[in-house]
Symmetry: C2
Subunit: 241 residues, 2 copies
DNA sequence: CGGCTTTGTTGATCCAGGTCAAGGTGTTGC
DNA sequence: GCAACACCTTGACCTGGATCAACAAAGCCG
């Protein structure tokens, strides 16, 4: 078990309402009865950056929904080389249905709030609720599309294009409601090391490319974290999206 | 419409039996009634290498099952750089449920036999048969696992490791029944150009790495296509699997 | 405050893999 | 038989990004 199951009963109602509010959350697909049943075993947790939520080392017996923050999915070679293979934003689902071990590690990249439930309960609900199964199916297909997009980035783009693609991806998620365009500001949810692991580059190269974007007047950087993109269209051109 | 719907009634029974024989095929999940209904609109096709089955340019209104051969899924940048983001072997399913356009192109890499059906009919069946939806969900999750495995390869492995990983992947698919080990032989389903597009390398680098594996006594190559791996364990060590 | 650690930047150098160029091999059609 | 073509290999050279090294800046804690 990787996600601790400490029950905080007082938090349960709020939790599931907040899941439901987001279209990709799990809870919205259930009837009230099912929600009550599920919430009996549900816990909301706040975790610090670096906390491992799911490890590829052990068997999984819980799922989770991201309520806030960013979770990175990583793979590591025996010699330590690491690759981030996905980023999960609220209200994404974390877990691998229909299997008992995970081939990837899920780790909090920022302070994160998650809503965790035991695998067994949710597996039962998937069988009972086709609507829930359908939602998870749709999320899996979306993640597959994203993974394949990123394969193009990793296999064929230059360092400059990768960094621009990354900023564009974060900008898209920073305010999912708003149509992307003109000037945008956001905080990077990842350190330079994480960005490098996501882009298949080194931290030095990431740093140099960000400096280049800054000197070329495409972005402004404050405190190494807060980014302003002056013209999204120009960034897209650099990213070759 | 990208897959032509020429009906060859005489072939339909054979077709669905052959789908059913393979565990990941679509047809096995349906009742006889549903099979009959579906087969009314089903066509079996033989296509030559290079034939585009699904193009990212147009809207999709058909799905397909691979019966034999290998189909490559590709993405291309405006300037022509290309990346293969997946390989589909029999009896894989091709298509993107719950969406009307595809972000990738599917193209026959070898001579291929496919079993195609109109999107509408299958979409209806997905609604009727939870078992069918479940199968497609499982395949989507498997493809997601494979895509993420490959992201590690593209982002962090050296050319030598990539080529070894590729041979290992093909070896695994060449005889899925058999446990992989000792000496294995198979035909490469891809040209050097395709291999390069799959690995994010150039054809020259792929060629040099194959030569190196040959000179190091790990593999033998006949006619540029037929490969013998003398010791799978040694290949795995090179691939860093 | 000042020392310590973690994180990020910048410069100098190196090398894995890309690019360019030439030639080999096999297949198809006349 | 021999063009014409598609595909693959090999060599010589170049370059984008890695590596190595030094330093700056920002948290953290006594």
């Amino acid at each position: 078990m990787t996600i601790r199951q400490d029950i905080h009963n007082s938090e349960i109602p709020a939790l599931c309402r907040s899941c439901e509010a987001r279209h990709r959350g799990v809870c919205g697909a259930l009837t009230t009865d099912q929600l009550v049943e599920l919430s009996r075993h549900t816990t909301k947790r706040k975790v610090d950056p670096g906390t491992v939520l799911v490890s590829d080392a052990d068997t999984i017996d819980s799922y989770a929904n991201v309520l806030a923050g960013v979770v990175k999915l990583t793979k590591t070679l025996p010699d330590g080389r690491q690759q981030i293979v996905g980023l999960q934003f609220a209200p994404d689902f974390i877990g691998r249905p229909f299997k008992h071990e995970s081939s990837i590690t899920a780790e909090a990249a920022t302070p994160v709030r998650v809503c965790a439930f035991p695998k067994k309960s949710l597996d039962r609900m998937i069988e009972l609720s086709p609507e829930l199964g359908h939602r998870l199916h749709v999320q899996a297909l979306n993640e597959l599309d994203e993974a394949r997009d990123w394969m193009l980035t990793l296999g064929r783009k230059t360092a400059a294009e990768r960094v621009a693609s990354f900023l564009h991806l974060i900008a898209r998620h920073s305010d999912p409601e708003k149509e992307l365009g003109g000037e945008v500001s956001f905080d990077l949810p990842l350190t330079r090391a994480d960005i490098a692991d996501f882009l298949g580059l080194t931290i030095e190269t990431v740093s140099r490319q960000l400096t280049k974007l800054r000197k070329d007047g495409l972005i402004a950087v404050e405190n190494n974290r807060h980014i302003t993109v002056f013209d999204v269209a120009r960034l897209e051109r650099r990213a070759n999206v």
